[in-house]
């Protein structure tokens, strides 16, 4: 029932993958400011934890290509690629990541707490926490007869949290327009999937809820697009929730500063050799979807867009400190 993306969509996907990659590269650069030679997380313009999603961009674009603003997305501590693909206001998001007054939350949130009501995007820092609220959002849409479905992105590690089980069961019992997308990047911090998860692929867990399960290999944006399309169409059509596990990988550490000594030798090199962005680029060129020049334009555009965002966010002011006492209640 689902189909391959058209050319315009493919370019949109490529563009957002590149934008996300450039964006995180720029964040990484800013993050290291003030943290060298001694790495102290508290220092620099971007203090605190920083979880990059480099390598996982296909998951974000393959799913979000099917979503509209009124569709709800919850993401995790590793949210940038998804936020970008969901269309979060990038100026406000970047300002938030830098803790500035014009940020999404005026600096109260930071990179693990990006909430943009305009496009119904939110993320949180507790593993599995976004699941049930996403199902609740789907319930709200359904009860009100409104358009819109909800997608909860989680990592493969989160599929072992109780919230995963409770939410999928609830969504199935209530036949909610809900999709759970698992980005399987093989690790929960340092712990490999095999040491934490009793099954090879989490899509088999769909059987516990009588719902559709899908597994996508190869970190392939087009394949992800197809599978997500089917699951999302089903949700829109009132056919209930689905569970998708996507094989992906993170090219960076769990967070910045992670020495990654838990990785087997050579793993990182192999991952970089499979970087989905050059791979997708080549596919686009091979398929005649775009010329190398067109893509270069997209890439340049992403670069300048990101540069502008970082400059903007850096230049913005912090909120007066007293504002920290506000917005506990609406």
């Amino acid at each position: 029932m689902s189909r391959k993306p058209d050319i315009q969509t493919m370019l949109w996907m490529y563009k957002h993958m590149v934008l996300s990659r450039r964006y995180e590269e720029a964040l990484a650069e800013a993050y290291l400011e003030g943290k060298q030679p001694l790495f102290n997380m508290a220092n620099g313009p971007l203090p605190g934890e920083m979880h990059l999603s480099n390598g996982q961009e296909p998951c974000a674009v393959g799913v979000c290509a099917h979503l509209l603003d009124h569709d709800v997305v919850t993401a995790t501590h590793r949210p940038h690629h998804i936020a970008i693909a969901k269309g979060v206001n990038l100026r406000a998001m970047t300002a938030e990541i830098f803790g500035k007054q014009t940020g999404l939350a005026g600096g109260r949130g930071g990179h693990m707490h990006l909430i943009d009501p305009a496009v119904n995007f939110a993320c949180t820092g507790i593993v599995g926490e976004g699941l049930a609220p996403a199902a609740g959002a789907a319930l709200a849409r359904k009860m009100r007869g409104e358009d819109g479905i909800a997608v909860a992105f989680i990592g493969e590690g989160a599929a072992n949290q109780g919230a995963f089980h409770e939410t999928l069961n609830l969504a199935a019992v209530w036949n909610l327009p809900f999709v759970c997308v698992i980005e399987d990047n093989s690790y929960g911090i340092s712990v490999p999937k095999g040491a934490a998860t009793s099954v090879l692929h989490n899509d088999v867990r769909a059987a516990s809820y009588g719902i559709r399960g899908y597994h996508v290999e190869g970190n392939d944006p087009l394949r992800i697009y197809e599978v997500a399309g089917e699951a999302i169409e089903r949700a829109r059509a009132g056919k209930g929730p689905s569970l998708i596990e996507i094989e992906t990988y993170r090219l960076a550490g769990h967070f910045m500063g992670d020495a990654e000594s838990y990785r087997p030798a050579g793993e990182k090199d192999a991952l970089f050799a499979r970087d989905p962005i050059p791979k997708f680029r080549q596919e686009l060129v091979d398929a005649g979807a775009a010329s190398s020049d067109d893509l270069l334009w997209i890439e340049e555009d992403a670069k300048s867009c990101v540069a502008e965002l970082i400059d903007f966010a850096k230049a913005e002011a912090y909120a007066p400190v007293q504002e920290a006492l506000e917005k506990v209640f609406v």
Binding site: V72, T74, G103, L104, A105, G106, R108, G109, H113, I115, P117, A122, T124, I126, E129, L131, A132, P133, A134, A135, G136, A137, A138, L139, A140, R141, M143, R144, A150, G162, A163, H165, E166, T167, N169, L170, V173, W174, E326, K327, V328, F329, V330
Partner: protein, 345 residues
């Protein structure tokens, strides 16, 4: 209760008053709905949703799986989307299976969204022991919630307040933990303090959240209670009046926000303070109230005192449990001893 509101006088239990407030809110606002375990046909184990299932059907009065993280998280998520769920956690003792979505999600979403996203959710939950339900079904845990910013934490001591506070809670755009005390609930099978069953207007009205109530005026000593202990204080005060002691009883009604002003004003007037709680003593609200008075530098005629549940789990055996619980006798004895104590501060 204001005279104008007493159109028709009916004595209601807290359970009925809560159901009525929810019912009226559901009638006037299609976004209000209820979910929780056994809130449907059964009408809530503690009668909080009596009649609602028949009136509104299973879509708006939803029985849930025993998945508190799932359904309370879903309630919070629905609230973010503009619904106004009233969700029940059957016993407050069960908070441990679902606290994250309550305190890290619902409570912080306003802050994390810079105040741009509301979570208008009411979490109603039962607390308290006294009927030998054992250590996992008799806890109070009030300050476990009140310590965590972003939640309003309230408990009515009578049906009038219950209805008005439930209405206010549903209308509030923030997450409200609405605790109801089993000893006051008015379920036949539980026994109920008489004073909890009071006249309740049929009209829709609010009792503002975060305002303490002077349940009885007095001049010699301030006795602060919350929920069931308000009745212990009132019972003691009636007795004490016969002995010529005038006790002022303050019903906190809300721990978050805490109405320190009302407490301080009362203590300034009486010069004596006794706080009475059925939650565990250490790190309970009685400490907070006494500390607030101490910080304010109010001169007391005798040291403040508290009666609270000792720092032990709730035992099953009735004699043991009753021994540990606060009651009117203990309040009376403490007041008498305070009235007789020399000025030492």
């Amino acid at each position: 209760m204001m005279a104008a509101e007493k159109k028709r006088i009916r004595k209601l239990t807290i359970a009925k008053a809560m159901s009525e407030a929810i019912d009226q809110a559901m009638t006037s606002n299609p976004d209000v709905f209820v979910m929780g375990e056994d809130v449907g046909k059964l009408g809530g184990v503690f009668g909080t949703t009596t009649g609602l299932f028949d009136k509104y059907g299973p879509d708006r009065v939803r029985d849930t799986p025993i998945s508190e993280t799932g359904f309370i998280g879903a309630a919070a998520g629905a609230a973010v989307m503009g619904m106004r769920p009233v969700v029940e956690l059957m016993f407050i003792d069960f908070f441990g299976v679902c606290m994250d979505v309550i305190y890290n999600f619902a409570a912080k979403n306003s802050y994390f969204s810079g105040g741009r996203q509301a979570v208008p959710m009411v979490l109603m939950t039962s607390a308290g022991g006294g009927y030998s339900d054992g250590g996992q079904h008799s806890q109070c845990l009030y300050t476990t919630f009140a310590h965590l910013p972003g939640l309003k934490v309230v408990m009515p001591s009578n049906a009038y307040d219950a209805k008005g506070m439930m209405t206010a809670a549903i209308n509030d755009d923030n997450p409200v933990i609405f605790i109801f005390h089993k000893s006051l609930q008015g379920m036949g099978w539980l026994g109920t303090a008489k004073g909890a069953i009071v006249d309740v207007p049929e009209t829709v009205y609010e009792v503002p959240l975060g305002k303490a109530n002077i349940s009885r005026e007095g001049s010699d000593i301030t006795v602060v209670g919350f929920g069931n202990t308000v009745h212990h204080a009132l019972d003691a005060a009636r007795d004490l009046a016969l002995e010529g002691i005038s006790a002022e009883v303050v019903d906190l009604r809300s721990l978050a926000p805490l109405d320190r002003e009302t407490v301080l004003a009362s203590v300034r007037k009486t010069g004596r303070l006794l706080a009475v709680d059925d939650d565990h003593l250490s790190y309970g609200w009685t400490g907070e109230v006494i500390a607030s008075v101490a910080e304010a530098g109010i001169a007391l005629k005798c040291p403040a005192r508290r009666i609270a549940y000792p720092d032990v789990p709730v035992p099953f055996a009735r004699p043991m449990e009753q021994f540990l619980l606060p009651n009117a006798e203990k309040v009376k004895a403490a007041v008498l001893s305070l009235m007789n104590s020399v000025v030492s501060v």
